[in-house]
Symmetry: C2
DNA sequence: GTCTGCATGTAAACAGTTACATGATTGA
DNA sequence: TCAATCATGTAACTGTTTACATGCAGAC
């Protein structure tokens, strides 16, 4: 999957591995994550497949940046992937659920403490996403609907961010309900 | 993580790989999934680590079942894992979000069709979880609160199932909202 | 006799994480 | 001078998926 994410970003504009890692952290972190090591090795694989070309450029001073550009084959591959609809749902992997599921032998106060810790983390996550939504809104307002394609890009990118927000809100509600129930026991 | 899930189940009662795979499908599928191949290879690793012992038993006829039992070391390991609280949130990986994020160049009707397909799948998922909730409720009612530990087990297992349900509901709402927005464009 | 369920595994490939490794620039 | 940011990569390991592989029992 990372392959298509990188291809998607590079199709929008030529980028370096470092920039792609930043893009991942800033705009896809609420539905996909990767370490820089995986970014670089996937880029290498993409180049080997002929889907991108890379070129070392000397920026200011002697900073070396390797810029990746999409090839025609890469564009074709991206289109094919986009036109091949998903027929399954993603399988979730949620560490905390595993822990909760097997918590009956643990001391309830310790479980509660863990849940409260998670609550704090998810609260922070939510706040961060909300800030991002506001700043996206501002920058979108500025350069308003120049063409319909840009409009769609905004719709889709906002939609995924809204998913992250909805997820965090659901998570917080779930945590609160469980913490409440445990307090009653 | 699968390691601890298997250890958790085996701690509850000795089980075969086949039974564990079934337990995974029936009761943890909404937060963790594994193929039978991974179950068997993880069991092998667990045995090598001395956390479980396995024993081939002949059931009826000559069906061979390899029953896994937790060792003292295994119990210790499980406890240690339980007492070491999670300090991070799980990183989500959601294939559909990746597709939506990069959908601005696709034909909107095709995106809508894909979203409707996903809607159907998530609806089915939700229905299945709701049925499970009802049947859990029934079997819990029957053998009511004999001891507080069993009570807790019910609370925790119902909580994780409720998480699955809340997730699917949130997902459906999100899909509906996006489909609606795309229809307006 | 064919399909489903029970029951067990191996092997290869792919994806993802952690640790190792380096070095320049900028600002406090 | 110390920390942060920019910038790139490799190596080893672990986790996950897909495909291969087998065989019995019972129902239809």
């Amino acid at each position: 999957m990372l392959k298509y994410i990188l291809l998607g970003f590079i199709a929008q504009k030529p980028s370096t591995g470092y920039e792609l890692k930043q893009a991942l952290d800033n705009s896809t972190s609420y539905f996909w994550h990767a370490y820089h090591s995986q970014v670089y090795s996937t880029l290498r694989a993409l180049e080997k497949e002929g889907l991108i070309t890379t070129q070392v450029e000397n920026g200011n001073h002697h900073l070396t940046r390797r810029v990746c550009r999409i090839t025609e084959a890469g564009q074709k591959e991206l289109l094919e992937w986009q036109n091949d609809p998903l027929m399954e749902t993603a399988r979730m992997k949620e560490d905390l659920m595993v822990r909760v599921f097997f918590s009956s032998l643990r001391d309830t106060p310790e479980v509660e403490a863990e849940l409260r810790m998670q609550r704090k983390l998810h609260e922070q996550q939510l706040e961060q996403y909300l800030n991002q939504l506001v700043s996206n809104h501002r920058s979108n307002g500025r350069q308003a609907a120049e063409n319909p394609e840009q409009d769609l890009e905004q719709i889709y990118q906002t939609a995924t961010l809204r998913f992250g927000i909805a997820y965090e809100r659901m998570y917080l509600e779930w945590l609160d309900e469980l913490i409440y129930k445990l307090e009653m026991v």
